[in-house]
């Protein structure tokens, strides 16, 4: 693919065929790189909603402020989508179904540290993230070293985590002025109309940046891609594929731990069912990761894609709620997510076929 672009678009400037080529390669980038497709979809979504707003078709006014306030739902979704991106990348049907249970147990662990043991928020947060990373490493050990299928190992540990989270404080949530105070972290910053939730800037952006660096700029990232693409190839290039694969699950645990802290801040309490209530957090996170373009078979996927997918779904859900009144709106969210997920793949495939001919 890359070589195609190189050969076809080198020489002169501004000749007619060159323009054509340019246009087609823009189209090509948009249709083959999932991140750019999602960026375009986000722009289309916002433009369409703005037009609908202008025509008074919406239930509520569509404002920049609404978009930024909605970002509060983005943070946990995006963090867990990143977690899933890492494990799916690691190959051999990589998946982590335990992130929901992990968020619950890590949140309760944090609540217990702060409320029962009187630790400071910062220290407790640090210990919680270490704890969550260890639980993730347990998944990694089962999958990477013992050879458990990821689906079943994480299903089992997820069951165990969610169960322990329920019994460790008798099913009751931890709520305490100290925990409630953490809600400040999710307050809006910036001028009134913008009001971007504080933790989007302080948590999500740095984590996203670090994740991108780890994957694109560090040796570990290259090893992960190698292991995800082919075990044997990775083995011949002297990569400890067991350790690399296990580490992906530990990183997912770390991200789930951060998500647990964000959840406590966002909901001003540590809940034993934080990651499992309703549909749970795992399935939406996997859906977002897949929408972000990570290949189920492993070895292909990018941080930007996952982040854009999370942003798109967050805004789409928020917009649907002000576009369709009543309970129908919430149902349309399901329909839209399903169609977008399948539609995005069909679009990319059609593009690939078009390219091939």
């Amino acid at each position: 693919m890359t070589s195609n672009v190189n050969t076809s678009v080198q020489p002169t400037k501004d000749t007619v065929p060159e323009k054509k080529e340019r246009a087609s390669s823009v189209v090509k980038v948009l249709t083959t790189d999932r991140m750019w497709l999602l960026v375009v979809l986000i722009v289309l979504l916002i433009t369409a909603t703005a037009i609908a707003d202008g025509l008074r078709l919406l239930v509520a006014p569509f404002t920049v402020r609404y978009l930024s306030v909605s970002l509060i739902a983005l943070v946990p979704l995006a963090l867990l989508a990143l977690a899933e991106t890492f494990v799916i990348l690691s190959g051999r049907s990589g998946i982590d179904l335990s992130v929901g249970g992990l968020v619950s147990i890590a949140g309760m662990f944090f609540g217990s540290m702060v409320v029962d043991h009187g630790l400071s928020i910062v220290l407790a947060a640090f210990i919680t993230v270490v704890f969550a990373t260890l639980l993730g490493a347990l998944n990694g050990f089962l999958v990477g070293f013992l050879g458990f299928p990821p689906l079943i190992a994480t299903l089992a540990t997820g069951y165990a985590f969610s169960s322990i989270a329920l019994v460790m404080h008798d099913g009751a949530p931890y709520s305490d002025p100290k925990l409630t105070g953490m809600n400040e972290l999710t307050a809006g910053i910036g001028p009134g109309a913008l009001a971007i939730p504080w933790h989007v800037v302080t948590v999500l952006l740095p984590v996203g940046l670090l994740a991108w660096m780890a994957l694109s700029k560090m040796r570990w990232g290259r090893s992960l891609y190698a292991v995800g693409t082919s075990d044997s190839a990775a083995r011949y290039s002297a990569i400890n594929q067991k350790l690399v694969r296990a580490s992906a699950y530990a990183v997912a645990g770390l991200l789930a731990g951060i998500t647990a802290l964000v959840n406590v801040a966002q909901f001003a309490s540590a809940r034993p069912d934080a990651g499992t209530a309703g549909n749970g957090l795992a399935l939406p996170a996997i859906t977002i990761a897949v929408l972000g373009g990570v290949a189920i078979a492993g070895g292909v996927g990018k941080i930007g894609g996952a982040l854009m997918a999370a942003l798109f779904v967050t805004w789409m859900n928020a917009i649907i709620l002000i576009a369709f009144p009543g309970s129908f709106g919430s149902r349309v969210q399901l329909l839209a997510l399903g169609i977008v997920l399948i539609g995005a793949v069909l679009l990319n495939q059609a593009a690939a076929r078009h390219q091939a001919t």
């Binding site: 299928p149 089992a156 399948i342």
Partner: protein
């Protein structure tokens, strides 16, 4: 789709399959029978209520829908595919059948046909997207999981369906719906398991399922119509979901919107505990049935022992690790031989 690297593992699994065909009951099934027997033995000492007809019937009935869907899911997973939309499929079928029974008062045959048509339709949608659309089954079924749930909620409208007649109570959970002390629902499940087991074991069409899972490209080159086979398998999941919906509806009563929520994970868990590989090429329906039985036994045992019901999932998780762990040890030892 399945670019399984031609490394040593694939070869060893192939050899393993060739060897497994010779024995009637495979390793993982024996392991599960052993684990289940141990749990049952422990329970018969720890409680004096385990071996009552009522208890055994409750456990068996509770696993029937999982085992029935597992019949299709196992085959799908052997091809290295998956169907995570079964819970939402079940919701669509149950909601439609509930309305048909309540509002139209159809009889057994016409309702069953309607259920199969609806289930088949849903299965066909998945099959079409996977085979014709050439999209990974997990992506397709994650998509249709949401879409089918939307459809189900639209059928429900803003209400539940109360007072559904017990037209299918003969395969329901009632203590009257038993033959020879075993619930009719589980007889039905056993029949379906047996048919699929024989098909996948002894018919060339069934062996093709394994061939596709081991190497889809090689299977295609060997003259197997891979697309058609996959289409039929995903279609069959839809039909089986319809049967499971009728079993779960059974004696009728109230149908709620959240019906089938989380069912996909229970079915997939039963398959994997039973020795089905998520990477394809390995698995039997008998193992799936036993996997479902293990989970059902553990779940029920917690209440029977009077332990805190919040612990159920912890024990289910631990037993999954034990069962699958033994399977892994066995495979590793055999690979070394």
């Amino acid at each position: 789709m399945t670019h399984t690297p031609m490394d040593t593992l694939t070869v060893s699994t192939r050899r393993a399959i060739a060897r497994e065909r010779r024995t009637l009951i495979e390793g993982q099934e024996l392991v599960l029978i052993g684990v289940i027997a141990l749990v049952w033995l422990a329970l018969s000492f720890a409680t004096n209520t385990f071996w009552t007809a009522g208890n055994i019937q409750t456990i068996l009935y509770s696993i029937a829908p999982i085992a029935i869907i597992g019949v299709g899911m196992t085959a799908v997973m052997v091809t290295a595919g998956i169907d995570v939309s079964v819970g939402s499929q079940l919701a669509v079928v149950t909601a439609s059948v509930g309305l048909i029974l309540k509002e139209l008062q159809w009889g057994i045959v016409s309702t069953a046909v309607a259920a199969l048509v609806i289930g088949g339709l849903l299965g066909a949608i998945n099959a079409l997207l996977i085979v014709k659309g050439n999209i990974h089954p997990m992506i397709v079924t994650f998509g249709t999981l949401n879409i089918f749930r939307f459809v189900a909620l639209q059928i429900f409208g803003d209400s539940q369906i109360p007072g559904v007649p017990g037209t299918f109570s003969f395969i329901g959970g009632s203590s009257a719906a038993v033959t020879l002390g075993i619930p009719n629902a589980i007889w039905l499940a056993i029949l379906l398991v047996l048919l699929q087991w024989i098909y996948m074991r002894s018919y060339s069409g069934g062996r093709h399922i394994y061939a596709i899972g081991n190497d889809a490209r090689a299977a295609r080159l060997a003259g197997i119509n891979v697309g058609r086979k996959l289409f039929l398998l995903y279609l069959s999941v839809g039909f089986l979901v319809a049967v499971a919906a009728l079993v779960q509806l059974g004696a009728g009563g109230l149908v709620q919107q959240n019906v089938g929520l989380g069912l996909e994970m229970k079915v997939i868990a039963a398959c994997v505990i039973g020795g089905t590989s998520v990477l394809g090429g390995r698995g039997t329906v008998l193992g799936t049935l036993l996997g479902a039985l293990l989970v059902g036994t553990v779940t029920s045992a917690i209440t029977l022992l009077g332990w805190s019901s919040e612990l159920t999932n912890l024990f289910v998780g631990v037993f999954i690790i034990i069962a699958v762990g033994i399977d892994l040890l066995r495979q590793r030892r055999r690979a070394r031989l």
